[in-house]
């Protein structure tokens, strides 16, 4: 499926980053169906609307991180594609004890997001994951 046909959800706690990424993705023709800073809202939206891909920040401030949310979304919707954004080079280095990312998830160092096409490509790749 082409990336532009995917329903993409974005969870990022930093308002500036979220709005920038959202607008860049929309500029690439992607359909950002929902964006939020809060895990709870993201889970509720996914329950009702079953997006194709969730783009999640690793560091969501206090409480659960992007991997916790990714695991929950997969439990609710096994076919959902996951793209995890991290400011770090490798999430495993960031915290060796974190639960593993769900199978087929993609992760992207935020710095490479400056080339938005890389993110678009990862979103398309993540959507290929089959439950």
């Amino acid at each position: 499926m082409s990336a532009t046909k995917l329903k993409v959800m974005l969870v990022e706690d930093d308002d500036f980053t979220r709005s920038t990424v959202k607008s860049a993705l929309e500029g690439q023709g992607l359909n950002i169906v929902y964006d939020t800073a809060f895990v709870k809202d993201g889970v509720e939206f996914a329950k009702k609307n079953r997006p194709d891909v969730a783009v999640l920040d690793y560091n969501l401030g206090k409480g659960p991180n992007g991997i916790d949310l990714a695991n929950q979304l997969r439990r609710m919707q096994p076919s959902i594609g996951i793209v995890l954004l991290t400011a770090f080079l490798n999430p495993a280095e960031l915290d060796t004890k974190i639960a593993q990312l769900p199978a087929g998830s993609r992760y992207l160092v935020k710095h490479s997001v400056s080339n938005i096409k890389v993110l678009v490509k990862e979103i398309a790749e993540s959507a290929k994951h089959k439950a």
Partner: protein, 597 residues
């Protein structure tokens, strides 16, 4: 805790534990071998060593046999009479096998055998009715004694952690670490800002300006800085069970003098213990080396021992600066009594038939007796009760060890917080701004490009701006840690109303700890439901209990090493534990929340 040796009238029953009997056999055999090698059979060293080695193995076998027989007959406990019978059942075969071995290896001749047997039977009776029962009784109390020392160790460490955390030195360390990390972040951010400010040339095209800025952003050293912080927060040593045990032993060793001084003053060993132990320690040597007349001459020596022991007690109870020194000297004096006796005898009784081996009477015995009495002092129930009820200050070695641990925990916890902040608030925004500049450049959108650049400068001008947090009340702090989990897990939160509004700098620390427990429970335990209950404890402590339905329970030990462990240790001064009950895992944490520095 009852006395280790309760009165016969109370008809006590003791656990049958032979572990210390094995240790006693080794000491006994070494002691006898020493006498035989240096005094009795200096020309037959090889035979002595062989006889002692075989006899040791035989004794081990006898003890093991007794142990197995009792276990098969399901006898786990017995009284003084039972212990004496066990003692006899070990001491008599021991004597018989010893005599046979000595005869076979030519240490005694056939004609000496009967005489030797009857001479040694008295020593065997001492073993049967005193040393073997004592070793079994101490073995049975082993767990209680070890448990008491573990409790003491834990309490001591908690107390020292609190002292260190509230000390001026620790306060200065906190400031130093904070200023160091903050200073480096500001320096790194200012360098980048400087490069961006002076590298950006408005005369160039937007595309060229973007290329320059992107290059600076890609090459910035803030990422390495945050990685370094993260590595610091992850660095840690893992402790195996063995290492934990050795640490305890090491602590007790380092703490021994303080422990001894404290217990000796609080609950000195009774004088009769000195006298009785001296009697049973010296008796075998009297039997071996002295005639009956000489033994009778020596008996008043025990009166001297008792009088000296009474004086030791008196000095300890009276206290004073030199009490411990004086009693140490007097204890050594008791240990030197056999040597003194021999020296006096050699002057006044030139016909003395035999004497103790000098190497034993002048060195091993007094030193051994001194160490033995110190050990007895700290394991007696009255002393253990005393250390359970009172604070004992830490030795300098222990203070140093705990100081290092607390400092490391703080540095790692602080590094973790700064690393998380730098990732989440600085690097994330730099990346987003980079994207914004890229997009604006592609569209030749000068206005958005300048906006992005302004945003970049705003972040870099004061990079620590958002790290500063105002203290909030306890209820709000904990809620702020729990609310984000809504949607992922079910959370029940209860708090004592009297604690809700507490606001101080430790509240945030508790928030960190609660977050650590919850995230561990979800990530490693797979919990779906968590309840947290905060209640008041004795001032200035509060108790936090977190219960979950983890499907993959956490290890039930409190020695797990990791950043989470360190955060919990730091917050609670080491007062936390994990327990598992059915399908429920419970974390209990106590912390001083209401204290002032």
């Amino acid at each position: 805790m009852r006395s280790i040796f309760p009165p016969v009238k109370s008809k006590p029953s003791f656990n049958l534990d032979f572990s210390i009997v094995y240790v006693g056999i080794i000491f006994l055999e070494l002691s006898i071998a020493g006498t035989e090698l240096f005094k009795l059979y200096p020309d037959k060293k090889f035979e002595v060593v062989i006889v002692r080695a075989i006899h040791t193995i035989l004794l081990f076998a006898f003890v093991y046999l007794a142990h197995i027989t009792l276990r098969i007959r399901e006898r786990n406990k017995t009284g003084y009479v039972g212990l004496s019978l066990i003692g006899l059942s070990l001491a008599i075969p021991s004597l018989l096998s010893r005599v046979l071995l000595m005869e076979n290896f030519g240490l005694i001749s056939d004609s000496q055998t009967n005489k030797y047997f009857f001479e040694q039977i008295l020593i065997s009776i001492v073993h049967a009715f005193f040393w073997i029962p004592v070793a079994i009784i101490l073995g049975g109390q082993r767990n209680k004694i070890i448990e008491a020392f573990r409790e003491y160790e834990a309490r001591l460490i908690v107390s020292e952690r609190i002292n260190i955390r509230k000390s001026d030195n620790f306060f200065e360390l906190k400031q130093e670490v904070d200023q160091t990390v903050r200073g480096e972040l500001i320096l790194q951010a200012n360098n980048l800002l400087h490069n961006l400010t002076y590298g950006d040339d408005k005369k160039l095209s937007l595309k060229e300006r973007n290329e320059i800025i992107q290059r600076y952003l890609k090459e910035n050293t803030l990422r390495e800085f945050s990685q370094r912080l993260n590595q610091k927060s992850e660095a840690g040593e893992s402790n195996s069970k063995f290492e934990e045990g050795m640490r305890s032993l090491n602590l007790i060793r380092k703490q021994f003098n303080i422990l001894y001084n404290f217990t000796a003053r609080k609950a000195p060993v009774p004088a009769w213990v000195y006298t009785l132990l001296s009697f049973f320690l010296i008796l075998p040597n009297y039997i071996n080396f002295y005639t009956a007349l000489e033994v009778i001459i020596c008996l008043p020596g025990f009166l001297v021992i008792h009088l000296v022991a009474l004086q030791i007690n008196r000095i300890l109870r009276r206290g004073g600066k030199y009490a411990i020194l004086q009693t140490n000297l007097l204890t050594l004096l008791i240990g030197y009594l056999p040597f003194i006796e021999i020296s006096i005898f050699s002057v006044f009784l030139p016909n003395l038939t035999e004497s103790f081996p000098t190497v034993i009477s002048a060195f091993f015995y007094p030193i051994g007796f001194f160490v033995y009495m110190r050990f007895i002092q700290i394991i007696q129930p009255a002393a253990i009760n005393a250390i359970q009820g009172d604070e004992i200050y830490a030795s300098p070695a222990l203070n140093l060890a705990i100081l290092k641990i607390v400092n490391d925990e703080f540095r790692q916890s602080e590094s973790h917080q700064w690393a998380t902040y730098t990732h989440g608030k600085i690097l994330t925004r730099l990346a987003a701004t980079s994207l914004k500049l890229e997009q604006a450049s592609a569209k030749n959108d000068v206005e958005n490009f300048e906006l992005g650049l302004e945003n970049l400068k705003y972040i870099l001008e004061n990079p620590t701006r958002e790290f500063e947090q105002n203290n909030v009340c306890l209820k709000a702090e904990i809620s702020s840690r729990l609310d984000p989990w809504e949607g992922l897990i079910g959370i029940t939160f209860k708090i004592d109303p009297a604690l809700e509004d507490i606001t101080n700098e430790r509240v945030k620390d508790l928030g960190e700890a609660v977050e650590e427990i919850i995230s561990n429970s979800v990530r490693h335990g797979g919990s779906q439901n968590i309840s947290i209950n905060i209640t008041a404890a004795s001032h200035p402590d509060i108790k936090v209990r977190v219960e979950d339905d983890a499907t993959n329970p956490l290890p039930l030990v409190t020695s797990r090493i990791g950043l989470g462990t360190k955060i919990l240790n730091l917050v609670s001064d080491g007062r936390w534990s994990i327990s598992r009950n059915g399908a429920k895992t419970t974390v209990d944490l106590t912390m001083s929340l209401l204290e002032s520095r």
